[in-house]
């Protein structure tokens, strides 16, 4: 699972960094050739910075994403669904570990990343700042948020940074189960009783706006985005990823006679592009800023875990150990 909405830094605050033109040209030639970049290679400062930012956001999203789902482990309907959601939550934490390790190879320590999550400097996906009010919310998350994440992750697995690609390959392999169990839970409710259908419909209505926000605002016109795509940091525009998601999954919602709370949502038969109403981008920016319904709780829980576990880490900490950046 992951926040697909890559959130770039405010570019106005940064002056462009002058790079050695020869090194930059050689770097770009290698990217064009399809070579993967490894941690020890020379890379533009901006490339390193944006990758750290992106992989770190992704890692935080995995950790925080496990919180709304973890809430429902104790109340999952039936033993098999309890086992599945437990396995999924463990996977998500494992994915965060893989991603933190990939980001570490770029020179930011795991301690620094987690500090920045807890003190609010780093961002994570908007969707995890909403509550999972019912089991139906878990079905919607497991099916649609994971589906959206897979669209993003499958594309990014073909990016240029070796350690991130390797982490994503393993993640995508495990996510296949997440999507399938989510779809299974979703279909079970949709084909169940009148009451389970109406509860699922209500959850779908609640989640549709955050799901439309998931890939982030349109970035087609952004020069910044163009450079990141040239360097294969970003593999598709936010709009293209959202369109791919709508194309794959809206029909699978409609086939169950469920509705989506957007009267303007339809596929243009000439262009093949999905059209939709304004999903209220103001709300998206407010949630990213920290003002969503669950932001404070998510960070407080993460901080609690770090503070309460501190003595264990300290007790086991090896003496005189010098940190070395992981190799790959």
């Amino acid at each position: 699972m992951y926040g697909g909405g890559y959130l770039p830094d405010d570019q106005k605050r940064h002056l462009p960094i002058a790079e050695d033109p020869d090194k930059l040209a050689a770097f770009e030639t290698r990217i064009d050739r399809g070579d993967k970049v490894e941690p020890q290679d020379w890379m533009p400062t901006e490339y390193r910075k944006q990758l750290i930012r992106m992989i770190e956001q992704h890692a935080h999203s995995e950790i925080i994403g496990a919180l709304p789902e973890g809430t429902w482990i104790t109340r999952a309907p039936g033993f098999k669904r309890k086992m599945a959601i437990m396995a999924k939550v463990q996977d998500e934490i494992g994915h965060a570990q893989l991603l933190y390790a990939a980001a570490e190879t770029l020179g930011k320590t795991r301690e620094a990343m987690i500090n920045d999550l807890i003190n609010g400097k780093s961002k994570y996906s908007n969707v995890f700042n909403y509550p999972a009010e019912t089991w139906s919310d878990i079905a919607v998350i497991g099916f649609l948020i994971d589906a959206a994440a897979i669209v993003n992750q499958t594309l990014n697995a073909k990016g240029s940074y070796g350690p991130y690609c390797r982490a994503l390959e393993r993640i995508c392999y495990e996510e296949a189960f997440h999507l399938k169990q989510g779809h299974d839970a979703f279909v079970a409710l949709a084909t169940g009783t009148e009451r389970s259908r109406s509860e699922l419909q209500a959850a779908l209505n609640r989640w549709w706006k955050p799901i439309m926000h998931f890939f982030g605002p349109s970035d087609k016109a952004s020069v910044h985005s163009e450079k990141l795509m040239r360097w294969k940091v970003k593999m598709a525009s936010n709009d293209d990823m959202r369109n791919q998601f709508l194309d794959m999954y809206v029909p699978r919602i409609w086939e169950l006679d469920l509705t989506l709370p957007d009267p303007e949502l339809r596929k243009d038969s000439d262009t093949g592009v999905w059209l939709f109403g304004d999903p209220d981008w103001n709300e998206f920016f407010e949630v990213i800023k920290g003002n969503g319904p669950c932001n404070a709780e998510r960070l407080a829980v993460r901080r609690w875990a770090e503070e309460k576990g501190e003595w264990v880490k300290r007790a086991l900490r090896p003496r005189n150990e010098i940190y070395v950046t992981p190799l790959a």
Binding site: T109, N115, A296, E297, A300, E310, L327
Partner: protein, 129 residues
């Protein structure tokens, strides 16, 4: 103010309010890293699969099992402290450049069929004379 949540476990926590200090966690709090190598089945090579943070080798094995052997096959794990790995540098990758040219190390470089055919041909011609 007490944090009110949908999650009863969260309601039971005695949680600190407000933003965390800038650096709640000290460097190296999360322990050093170990490189993990997994063997899928007996007879296979061990393969590098990633890293874990751990306070010692024994814990690194426990965490590596959770992280890299949750599904699929695995019969054996190795962990090595990252600091103990000695590696070549990508900058010196040209030391391998001439390797593909060393075709005298490849079986395809030794073509005998033509010679045998020529030999048999000349033998046949001699016999016909």
């Amino acid at each position: 103010m007490k944090l009110v949540s949908l999650d009863p476990r969260v309601c039971r926590m005695d949680m600190a309010e407000g933003a965390a200090p800038d650096a709640l966690i000290q460097e190296n709090d999360h322990w050093p890293t170990y490189e993990v190598f997994a063997q899928k089945k007996r007879g296979d090579q061990h393969q590098h699969v990633g890293i874990v943070h751990a306070p010692n080798g024994e814990m690194a094995l426990v965490l590596a099992k959770e992280q890299f052997a949750r599904r699929g096959m695995c019969v054996n794990l190795w962990v090595v402290r990252t600091a103990d790995v000695v590696a070549t540098s990508y900058e010196d990758a040209d030391i391998f450049d001439s390797t593909p040219q060393k075709t005298h190390r490849e079986p395809v470089d030794y073509k005998v069929k033509d010679k045998i055919n020529r030999y048999n041909q000349s033998k046949k011609e001699k016999n016909e004379q």
